[in-house]
Symmetry: C2
Subunit: 383 residues, 2 copies
């Protein structure tokens, strides 16, 4: 999507084969770079796979995170063009849907919090609309009759993140990118403050640039000096998917933030009939076990917002580990180590931020220049 | 456990390799019969596997089901001796536990219903005890502080039904019983009102006696005249198991009947640390899908009775099909077809009723005499 130099032939190693690593790799491979991605497991099967695929910078906004909002809005606007390019290159549909998002207040307390949220959104000049319950149910008749208020956010869209993983793998490989799955690197080779390559199975693969895009495992990479270990930790999310059936088919993304419960829920209907429901947010280290309470909160919240889901079959339950940074924003760009670039810590927004991250990091590598877009997100902000 | 004729050499075919078929087969093989069990799937993996293993005739009693209560109490009393014999024969522990059962009232409505239940139990002269909440929590400190009343039923025990399946298979085969798994029969051969054998893969296996013990599939067996099709249907139950962890280990079986919710729950702690939780009761034919509402009810009910389970990991979720008869009682003994004997329709009580069913049906086959114990449960009661 950027106008890259077609004659670039840099050797780039990317650590991490999630949507971020694959997206950057795809853009660079198309621009003529020689790209290797090293993925410890299967490509795109960690946080990229666990996600729900919401592209919701407007709905998710917190007033104190203006820079992140701007980044999210920019990436959200890139999506239609990104999808066309990705689907063209890969010949795989990624299930991009622009039906918008309804944020609902399930009880009185929720509705009151929703008012505050709406005020914040208006102060930020977001294109959102206040609806009374009846108007919300006109848009999405399956909403509970108890819902008295909602925010309609028409610009918050969604994509099938699992389909996007497949498309990115396909597009990257068609552009001659090399993907090493089930291949953790041993360490990054750094000599006198310069990244030289990565050790893999006792061989050194030299590179002009190394991109660290290893999600919540980013700080565990051997060879990283303490000063450039990104402050990224796993934040567990529990999720499930239901099978929508005739008469119980949602069109829009529903978000139900809950004032009195520990877990907000969202419901994301997919083209293939899956209704993806998430998510808890838990500081549990690398624990990925489903728990009684986690599943209970998801089912309770979903049922209270959309009672019609009661009889739907459960297709799948799973957990994921979001790469959370200290300020919830990603870590993008150059580091204290020459030729070592970071693209990690995307927390809840990895799918949303994939286009802007891929294009801006590719551009940084090709031109050597840090854009204003990613400048606020450099690792150095933490020190 | 019966004093069978050791010289009996009847050829017996049993249709169905659940605990009922295996139990009968084991007793007959030990008595010298030549026994073949035909099981459509894996032995003991249908309702026998899905069960929770409660042996709770006193807790489960309904006032209108006196004959069933008597049968259950008799089988419950047989358990200690049955377990010794089965563990000796199989060399497999079946996790029999005699810590008793607490039936708890989670809210005011539940406590009021519990009073009625207690009155019924007293009218039936059952050995149960009324406890205030504090006394119940002294027995089982993990119970919710909201619980104001409980019934203590010391004679309601439990067994690890999955271990019992393995033990029965082992004991049956050690007694020279033949087990054909993944082998559905084509039809029962009945000539002039006499059962002659079963057709399997186009071969007729002749037998002196045929036992129909096919659980909820019992009425679907080809060759059965309409008049002897047992009125048995599948009643779906959804269940889950949690992994108990340090500090969150129940000792007793907990039952929490709920006045206002569609699903009563029970919690059955096993020796291996599993906490088995059940169950919905749904008329859904042969549908075995987990649903959002089913899992929600189980988790809600469990959490309200024992809040400490909130953070326990989920080990497994599953569904089973109970073989429900028209009056909830099993169908035991002779039928309108000579040499065709039934042992099916055990509904919620299959594990509890295995010893009495196995011993009484074996005795009927060996002696030709229907005992008073099973006489009330013949198929003919429905016509």
């Amino acid at each position: 999507m950027q106008n890259h130099n077609p004659h670039s032939n840099k050797r780039v190693v990317i650590i991490g084969g999630g949507v971020i690593g694959l997206g950057i790799g795809w853009q660079l491979a198309k621009a003529g770079c020689t790209v290797s991605i090293y993925e410890r497991d299967q490509a795109g099967r960690a946080a990229s796979w666990a996600a729900a695929g919401m592209l919701a910078p407007h709905a998710e906004v917190h007033f104190e995170e203006r820079a992140l909002l701007k980044l999210g809005v920019q990436s959200c606007r890139m999506y239609p063009e990104w999808v066309v390019e990705l689907e063209t290159d890969s010949q795989i549909s990624v299930g991009y849907r622009a039906e918008g998002t309804l944020i609902v207040g399930v009880d009185r307390d929720d509705a009151r919090e929703l008012e505050h949220h709406y005020e914040s959104q208006q102060l930020l000049d977001l294109k959102v609309e206040w609806l009374i319950g009846a108007a919300a149910r006109e848009m999405e008749p399956l909403l509970s009759p108890k819902i008295t208020a909602a925010i309609w956010s028409r610009d918050d869209h969604q994509v099938d993140n699992r389909a996007m993983v497949k498309a990115l793998i396909g597009a990257y490989q068609k552009a001659n990118g090399t993907l090493h799955e089930n291949t953790p690197i041993d360490k990054i080779e750094i000599v006198k403050g310069k990244a030289k390559g990565v050790w893999v199975k006792n061989n050194l693969e030299e590179a002009d640039v190394i991109v660290l895009a290893a999600g919540c495992w980013s700080s565990d990479i051997d060879g990283l000096p303490q000063a450039v270990k990104p402050p990224v930790r796993p934040v567990k999310g529990q999720m499930l998917a239901l099978q929508m059936e005739e008469g119980i088919v949602l069109q829009k993304v529903i978000r139900a933030p809950r004032a009195k419960y520990p877990t907000d829920v969202y419901l994301v209907p997919k083209d293939d009939g899956r209704l993806v429901i998430g998510a808890t947010s838990e500081e549990m280290g690398f624990d990925t076990r489903l728990t009684a309470g986690g599943l209970f909160e998801l089912l309770r919240g979903t049922w209270e917002a959309v009672p019609g889901i009661y009889d739907l079959p459960i297709l799948e339950t799973w957990t994921g580990l979001r790469p959370g940074s200290r300020d919830n924003a990603p870590i993008l760009g150059e580091t204290g180590v020459e030729n070592l670039i970071m693209a990690t810590g995307h927390y809840r927004n990895g799918i949303l931020l994939t286009p802007v991250t891929a294009c801006e990091i590719a551009s940084l590598i090709l031109t050597g220049k840090t854009s204003e877009t990613i400048a606020p997100f450099q690792l150095s902000r933490f020190w």
